[in-house]
């Protein structure tokens, strides 16, 4: 295998594929590498941790085809450190020789036969607008659970066909984010799949400048294609919790407040809300008061202009969870609706009804 490429283009491609590589104990050592294959004038790079596989294609000027698995982190670090300009890569006798200008590296290869077999994705494809999908991921992915041990089901984002569109749902059992994409008929009627949040997080990184994203589904895996990048992931098996019954039909108490001012105020007040200390929202007819009390260090208080209809009450939230929800909402104003201080509160944008964030309070004495 032998090819030449521009350093920046090669670094971008390596960086994307290398993020899926894993050094997790128990995984084959080859999975700490990036698989590189030259076919014609195209370099195919792939990184995988068995669950998630990321593939990138890059046009190069190739002089010899071939396959090799190169240590991912080392290769990325080397290419990043090289002078800008042309980089040549040649694989020979168990080594990858990476050279640019007067720098030369010889990196020992990993066993390519240990690398995962790359599967062809399902032939059936649907296409959706990248910008909308990227927005939806930004709003929903922060709510997924990272706790593989206790409830692996919650580490996924539910993608479900709803009448009139596609719905994305994620929850870590403390908050629940729901985003509707009207008009997107990606799935068959009634179909739903559970896609690992980690894969969607990686997908979101490559969606930034794309126009469309193509989804191919088969019973075990989902593949997203964006330009020359392909993100494939195992689907999570199991039944997602019945989240619909958690969303109250109506609320007696409703706060309307500016999104940016609320975000800024929570960020300030949380300076005195350390781990396990909540931010308290004092909901009053004349506005909103935020307080945080850290028994060791002191307290913070901030008043905000807000419109409130309902019974005066204090409700407390984990500040990060609250920030995640307010950040994910769009528009100038958000509403926070609640039944009482121990029931889930619902955060919405006043302008965009397609997003909903359900947040469980913190019980304070």
């Amino acid at each position: 295998m032998k090819f030449r490429s521009e350093r920046d283009a090669l670094l971008d491609a390596l960086g994307i594929a290398a993020r899926a590589a894993t050094t997790r104990g128990g995984a084959p050592q080859a999975l700490s590498g990036v698989r590189a294959e030259v076919v014609g004038d195209t370099l195919h790079l792939a990184g995988s941790d068995l669950d998630l596989t990321v593939q990138v294609e890059l046009p190069v000027s190739a002089t010899e085809p071939g396959v090799a698995v190169i240590p991912a982190k080392l290769a990325t670090d080397i290419v990043r450190a090289l002078e800008p300009g042309a980089v040549s890569v040649e694989v020979d006798e168990g080594e990858a020789r990476i050279a640019a200008g007067r720098s030369q590296f010889a990196v020992r290869l990993l066993a390519s036969e240990e690398f995962v077999k790359l599967r062809d994705p399902a032939p059936d494809a649907v296409t959706l607008a990248a910008a909308d999908f990227a927005d939806a991921l930004r709003q929903v992915v922060p709510a997924v659970s990272h706790d593989e041990a206790t409830r692996p089901i919650l580490t996924g984002v539910l993608m479900a066909a709803e009448p009139g569109g596609l719905r994305l749902v994620a929850t870590d059992s403390y908050r629940l984010a729901v985003r509707d994409l009207p008009g997107q008929t990606v799935l068959r009627e009634g179909q739903k799949v559970l896609v690992p949040g980690r894969a969607l997080g990686e997908l979101a990184r490559v969606l930034a400048n794309a126009e469309t994203v193509t989804l191919r589904l088969d019973p075990e895996q989902a593949t997203f294609e964006v330009g020359t990048t392909r993100v494939s992931t195992r689907l999570i098996e199991g039944e997602f919790p019945n989240y619909r019954q958690l969303i109250p039909a109506s609320y007696p108490n409703k706060l309307t407040v500016g999104r940016e001012p609320l975000l800024a105020a929570v960020r300030r007040v949380r300076l005195l809300a350390r781990e396990n200390t909540p931010v308290r929202l004092n909901l009053r007819p004349d506005g909103l008061e935020l307080t945080a009390i850290d028994p060791e260090h002191g307290q913070a208080r901030e008043d905000l202009d807000a419109k409130y209809e309902g019974a005066e009450m204090v409700v407390a939230f984990n500040p990060q969870y609250l920030i995640d929800g307010v950040e994910a909402a769009t528009g100038v104003e958000v509403t926070l609706e609640t039944l009482d201080a121990l029931k889930p509160a619902t955060l919405r944008s006043t302008e965009a009804p397609d997003y909903l964030y359900l947040l469980m309070p913190v019980r304070v004495s």
Binding site: A149, T171, D172, Y174, R175, L176, P241, N276
Partner: protein, 421 residues
Amino acid sequence: MTATLPEPEPTILHVDMNAFYAAVEVLEDPSLAGKPVIVGGTGDRGVVAACSYEARMFGIRSAMPSTRARRLCPHAVFIPGHFDLYGDYSRRIHEVFKAFTPLVEGIALDEAFLDVAGARRLFGPAASIAHAIRDRIRDDLGLSCSVGAATTKFIAKLASEAAKPTASMKGIEPGLGVKVVEPGDELAFLHPLPVQALWGVGPATFERLSRFGVRTVGELAELPEATLTTALGAATGSHLHALAWARDDRRVEPDRATKSVSHEETYAHDHHELEPLRLETVRMADSVASRLRAHHLAGRTINLKVRFHDFRTITRSRTLPIAVDRGTVIARVAGELLETIDPTSGVRLLGVGVSNLTEDAAEQLTLDDADPAGWTDADRAVDEIRRRFGDRAVGPAALVGRDGLLLRRRGDQQWGPGADD
């Protein structure tokens, strides 16, 4: 320097409950009064954790193998122990202490140091406070204790020992109840005591000291420090020399909050396979969770402790994103930690614990709390059922055997397995 230190006063109290576990058992079952009662493991590897003074008349002492105790007094009443109950009484005892001073340092369930320097203006001299505490514990709880008062922790502890009842074949002597060692009298009190009274003098050290003809603390004090450090090593030597001259500058360190809640058991027979141990983790997790909830605590770190046949002990732990108090979650994590160990050489002790505790006063609610069919409600129902009908009324399905629920509470095998295991 013109400043002078204030006159020392005996403001450190050491309160030690008399035959605590046995006394609590008698309170709970008055038919035991006056009988030799032994709390401890009843199986082959069991030891005596505590015994009543009636049992001590037969020469039974704590830490003695249960088999030996049984030979000394075949008609003694053996009780496996009710750890939860002792904990409850201990908390009530601490409430009495806290009424006198916030500076309480618990050493064990039945033993604590109190600094009463600031309490004298309200309650009078240390001796009066010692008597008042003793009376309150007797009147409110029906338990007796011994109190030592001195200028140092070390002398206060020896003083409480000197105030204790004694039991011999002739009968039970009630003891002083309160012993105050006045400032200046420390050496006169200390030096006649046998040298084993000092902390750190075990059989090996005693044997070495005997070669110097040392039998009392006074004789130890007469030895040059250099001789002691040569004979016993630098640390032990200077430590004992300081104690022999009644020098002990440790302060009473008030209790910090509970650090962890755990449940461990020693088995009558080593386990060589994972399957029975999996069941044990479920059992223990359930017990730990119940206690966490009872104390309004939740913890983020789940710990699994395993002691092998050769006494090699390992712990495995995992920290969760939030504090939990649910048996199912603790059992699940403990079970996963268990899968990482190899039991083939034999497991003699297993323990499940939760640390990294927070008070649930600020508890992050979960969507399960909002869901009528959620787990949390099930756990709360379990607590309620146990409160009303007893611990064995309900438990995890995995623990239901042919003879009913195989539930164990902490303390059931605290001091070695029961005879029926």
